[in-house]
């Protein structure tokens, strides 16, 4: 079924409105539904995340970092297409490789894209710790310092010490 409004794209939103005894049906594509201000997040949330991303990635493609080698994660080789197919990312580095579209996706799924829960700093010398990222951006340092303050406030001194070390090493 084609969209009733633009007649070009397939209709994916089927809206039934009942006002009194009148009952109207609308069949719209996502763009036209959005243009009419129809909230589609609830229905989209029921689909696997892969197809949810597929539905938004056209608009988000411009946000893909150029260094992502045509949308391939340098660490594990996963592509955005893999994610669309399976709904699962390949590895932690995928979050950097696909940061743009993921940020949009996270906002749609969670209503936010920034973690404000418990901070974490990996133990020095633990397996995998050598894969730690290089110098941090000012923004990251600010977040780390905020986490440090919260760890101190919560009297979680073990974590505070690790955060302090992490900040020093990345300054």
């Amino acid at each position: 079924m084609q969209c009733q409004r633009c007649g070009e794209r397939p209709a994916v939103i089927h809206l039934t409105t009942v006002v009194g005894n009148t009952h109207t049906e609308q069949h719209l594509c996502e763009d036209c539904a959005a243009a009419q201000g129809i909230q589609t997040e609830v229905s989209l949330d029921k689909f696997p995340v892969g197809s949810l991303l597929a539905s938004i990635s056209k608009g988000a493609a411009g946000q893909l970092p150029a260094a992502a080698e045509g949308g391939r994660c340098a660490a594990c080789g996963a592509t955005l297409q893999d994610f669309r197919d399976t709904g699962r990312l390949g590895c932690a580095a995928c979050y950097e490789a696909f940061a743009g579209p993921l940020r949009t996706l996270l906002r749609r799924v969670h209503g936010a894209s920034r973690h404000i829960g418990e901070p974490y700093a990996p133990p020095a010398g633990a397996p995998g710790a050598e894969a730690a990222p290089g110098p941090a951006t000012t923004d990251e340092l600010r977040t780390l310092r905020a986490h440090l303050q919260r760890a101190v406030d919560a009297e979680n001194f073990e974590l505070a010490a690790r955060l302090r070390d992490e900040i020093r090493s990345r300054e």
Partner: protein, 370 residues
Amino acid sequence: MTLDLDLLPDGGVPWLDASGPEGHVVLSTRIRLARNLRGHAFPPRADDAEREDVRDQVLAAVRASGALGRSVVIHVDGLTRLERQLLHERHLISRDLAGLAAGAAVRHGAALVTDGAAGVMINEEDHLRLQVLRSGFAPAEAYADLERHDRDLGARIAFAFHEEFGYLTSCPTNAGTGLRASVLIHLPGLVLTKEIAKVLQGLTQMGLTFRGLYGEGSEVVGNLFQLSNQTTLGKSEEELLDHLGRIVRQVVEYERQARDVLLRNAPTVIADKVWRAYGLLRHARSLSFEETMNLLSGVRLGVGLNLIGDVSIYTLNKLLVFTQPAHVARRAERALTDPDLPAIRADFVRRLFDDDARRGPRGTGAPEEA
């Protein structure tokens, strides 16, 4: 390897004792944290060798931390399908780890460390799924335990964590805190008064989600619902738990009101319903799993309303676990497809009621036959 569940402290189901708060409505509280090791592909993408490496690192960290002192390690990838289903029915492992989904196989390197109440699933869709299960409604206590284990392990192995996105997970729906808290709740009053659809719709609008007895993708049986937080990012762990707690308390209150309405408006109908359920369970000669769950729901309601006095919630919880298909099949040493299972189940239900009636309402651990 053969699975010996007797090795598990309390048979892996210490929550059955119904000792927790709101135990007559909320059966159990479960919280899990999704964590991954830095520098390794997530389990669905990793190869066998990488998953083995991850498993060994996690097991070494568990041993070194002493976090799960009396725990046992179960190599899930070495179990038969029936044994994996058994662990799943005890809510010790997820459907994913058990490899029970249609067309899915168990993942090489899949393992479980558990002390009964707390555990770590290894090589689920994330490298670690730390989880704690408590009797009744006890999110704060469950989280306190879980946080301790998380800290102990996170100080020994490096978790994948991102300044902006938080804990990184295989599926972005779990990113951020990686925290999913859920309660298994019995809502026959809301179902019978037909208020349930409204309540469930309200939950969804409040950012909660509901599922059946076995979690994701499972159907609702026996009026048992699993309520959990839908999002994991952008709120602190405390906020997520607070929010869930507030809404669950509200749902418990709605359920109480619904039961009051039933007792007030249709006392004979309700009494007849719960006593019929009890009568069938006590005397039937063949019981399907689904019928058993529905009848147990009726008896549980009768106990909650003080209509049935000589059955304990503990007995009902035991029946809930031990009448599930893999449990019945294994006890009788039959296949899951064996046509005699409904008769064997009915026989077991009668004996358990008789035994518990003789022993009195309080027993400990799993029934001897299990």
